[in-house]
């Protein structure tokens, strides 16, 4: 059973389609990355789910219930650039939003204190948010999204503004959070998506171009890639190689040759026979896989 089902979701601003006909489900306990270049419609998708803006078409169903119940009861949301009441201390702000989520004052205080420690800003509990650094704000932003023990945590570019250490820490935190909740986060960096997510939603120009688990996507788009390097540049190599039955495409750069193949095993046999027969000076034979990066680039450059 899915936690959230999105069906035919579209959004237009002033006639311009920002999000087109999105359909996907989020399974409970999964960490899903909404991946796409800038301007792909990631933020709009998250804001639609958070209820800040209404879809022009389509609908969102939460936990088999329609949206007549307030979705915000189950959702924690971190915008890309969280803004706080700077005159409050970190604790005060968390207690405030906790109480807005119907926690009692004592529950909210206890949870706020735990969360501040958990996101690593326990030392700044009594400090005014106006004095927080960018990284501290991002952490406080994550803490506030967790105050109401959400079933779904939505994070808009949670790590892109952080330095490498902060990024590492937040990714670790997200790995931990997966145990208790479903996470949907947006990013334009494939590495971040690969690192923590179970599933990918690849968004481009408002459309969902690919979706699936990392493994599925890898298998689906995998073609064999063999890289050969020679100590000397053999003549007529390209022509010869292209004649081999299982080879689809050959690229020659100086002494190295890239071969794309549909059947890696068969190609290896053919290739090695050819190399032995011709007695070519082979120095390197490497099997590479096309990565999600290739897929991402292929989609984005379309």
């Amino acid at each position: 059973m899915s936690l959230i089902a999105v069906n035919g979701l579209s959004k237009a601003f002033d006639g311009k389609q920002v999000v087109k006909d999105l359909t996907f489900q989020l399974e409970p306990g999964k960490c899903v990355a909404l991946l796409g270049p800038n301007g792909a419609g990631k933020t709009t998708t998250l804001r639609l789910l958070a209820g800040f803006t209404r879809p022009t078409e389509g609908n969102i169903t939460f936990d088999e219930q329609s949206l007549s119940t307030d979705i915000r009861n189950y959702v924690g949301y971190l915008p890309q650039f969280p803004v706080f009441h700077n005159w409050m201390t970190g604790m005060e702000f968390l207690i405030y939003v906790g109480q807005l989520s119907y926690l009692s004052k004592s529950e909210a205080t206890e949870r706020a204190s735990q969360l501040m420690d958990r996101v690593g800003i326990g030392d700044a509990k009594k400090q005014r948010i106006g004095k927080y650094s960018g990284g501290m704000r991002q952490r406080l932003g994550i803490a506030q999204a967790l105050m109401n023990k959400p079933k779904l945590i939505m994070l808009d570019e949670p790590v892109s503004a952080l330095d490498p250490i902060g990024r590492r820490e937040v990714l670790n935190l997200m790995n931990e959070l997966k145990k208790d909740a479903t996470i949907l986060f947006s990013t334009h960096i494939l590495n971040d998506a690969e690192e923590v997510s179970d599933e990918l939603l690849l968004l481009h120009r408002g459309e969902l171009v690919e979706q699936g688990s990392l493994d599925q996507l890898n298998n689906l788009h995998q073609t064999g890639k063999i890289e050969l390097t020679f100590s000397d540049n053999p003549d007529s190599l390209k022509e010869d190689l292209e004649k081999l039955s299982t080879v689809e495409h050959v690229d020659v750069h100086n002494r190295s040759v890239n071969i794309i193949t549909s059947d890696e095993d068969a190609t290896r046999k053919e290739l090695l026979q050819y190399v032995t027969a011709k007695d070519l000076p082979l120095t390197k034979y490497e099997v590479a896989k096309t990565t999600l990066e290739d897929l991402f680039m292929k989609v984005v450059s379309k």
Binding site: N86, W87, G130, K131
Partner: protein
């Protein structure tokens, strides 16, 4: 009429209250981290324009 004709008991509260307003504005100006525009300009405005100066500072000078 000279100054002695003015009933200071009546005017003193007005002056005291204006001084409090000025003092609050200046103390706030010192304690606040950032203002819209340079702090010293706001200090000058508060001191030299009575009543209006501090009010302008509270409304436009404090960065919320």
């Amino acid at each position: 009429m000279g100054l002695e004709d003015i009933n200071w008991a009546l005017i003193a509260p007005l002056i005291i209250v204006e001084m409090i307003l000025l003092a609050v504005a200046l103390i706030d100006l010192i304690r606040i981290e950032e203002t819209n525009g340079p702090k010293w300009v706001w200090a000058v405005i508060c001191i030299f324009i009575s009543l209006i100066g501090p009010v302008l500072y509270f409304i436009f000078g404090r960065r919320q």
